[in-house]
Symmetry: C2
Subunit: 233 residues, 2 copies
């Protein structure tokens, strides 16, 4: 009987291939099967980050999803199908690496495969650089220090929830800004915390930028932008 | 006139040399000056992680601190002295890399050097794998997902502050457990969140372990342990 393969969740970081860890690179090269999430056009941000290291001859498993026009059920069906395909490879003894933007367990879709395959096969997870750490590095400012607490929130939350959570923390990172930025800015303004906030756009990519809140509001920012705020200077 | 060197804050991750990024490794090899925090005995966790890549001939700048017996003022004096030494090298055009456990800006002491040297010299920060991501990977469980918020807290906070913050969040990571674990456990117990919590000890090291809360309480855990809790299963 063949020993089953291992399912690897590989964090590939925020976008810069140099922000991949040595461990993720080694496993990417070693695994015969590589799965990656893709949009309806077949583009995969996670695959693009490590494309130079994916050698010909790998078995690739695209996980194509269309949350926006086909909804959550369709996406879950895509994970079911990918889990079945990966289970086949794992059962035949082939290790499989799932590429994950950022960190696999920090707002990542890897957890859908984890819950479908853990228990049935060996699993190992390689942590990745999160968007929070990447954005702070670009802005060169502390995320959180000493006895402060840090709260990480998606900007998609309702205004009153955002307000309560931000009022109760010393430091915060607000993710997924996009069209939610004016709501977040209004909350910070009422809390007297608008001035020190920075918005980081496309961290880890060549066109990364750091904007003040007024600058960000004026030009608008993409969905994958992140705001950092901290009570201390 | 010589162009000044760049100050690099290099995140080296939680302890496993393989969790260093390609970028941190490249800069570590390229910089002629390497600084690292050390305890009073001269041991440096950050240096130990990357020791195999520090070639002879580097100028090394140990930053020896003794918070415990000599207090905060003495530690700040150590940063003043290190900043002076590094400023000398930077002014003469030598790039200097400061090694940082985990991520330089996530509860890191790098910010003391950043505030002393930023503005005077070019600064670049290489983000690292945080203890939160490393511990979640070891435990193979999601930190946070979808529209949940994540709160990161030091266990050193007073019991009522811990309780209020943990009651208000879907997911949490509590750091620096050590002798504060019974206090954290009591808070989680009252909130009905003790059952799903896990404690990760020495993530990224060979003897890393995942414990339930009762196991952790029974055997005690070191200061650098981390608790993960999440409302969802």
């Amino acid at each position: 009987m063949t020993a089953p393969g291992t399912l690897y969740g590989l964090g590939v970081g925020p976008g810069d291939p140099e922000l991949v860890t040595l461990k993720a690179l080694r496993l990417l090269r070693a695994c015969p099967v590589i799965a990656w999430p893709a949009n309806p056009e077949g583009h995969s941000m996670a695959r693009a980050v490590v494309a130079e290291w994916i050698h010909p001859g790998k078995i690739e498993v695209p996980i194509v999803m269309d949350f926006v026009s086909k909804g959550r059920e369709s996406a879950l069906a895509a994970y079911d199908a990918a889990a079945d395909t990966l289970a086949g490879h794992l059962a035949e003894g082939r290790d499989a690496a799932v590429l994950c933007e950022g960190d696999p367990l920090f707002y990542g879709s890897f957890m859908y495969l984890l819950e479908r395959l853990a228990g049935r096969f060996p699993v190992a997870i390689v942590p990745g650089i999160t968007s929070v750490a990447a954005c702070a590095a670009v802005a060169a400012r502390p995320v959180v220090s000493l006895d402060e607490g840090l709260t990480v929130l998606p900007a998609t939350l309702p205004e009153d929830a955002l307000s309560a959570r931000l009022a109760a923390t010393e430091a915060a990172a607000v993710m997924k800004l996009g069209r939610h930025l004016p709501k977040v800015a209004a909350v910070l303004d009422r809390l007297g915390r608008a001035e020190g906030a920075v918005v980081v756009v496309r961290a880890g990519h060549e066109d990364q930028r750091v904007l003040s809140l007024p600058e960000a509001l004026s030009e608008g920012v993409p969905y994958f932008s992140l705001l950092l705020t901290r009570n201390r200077p």
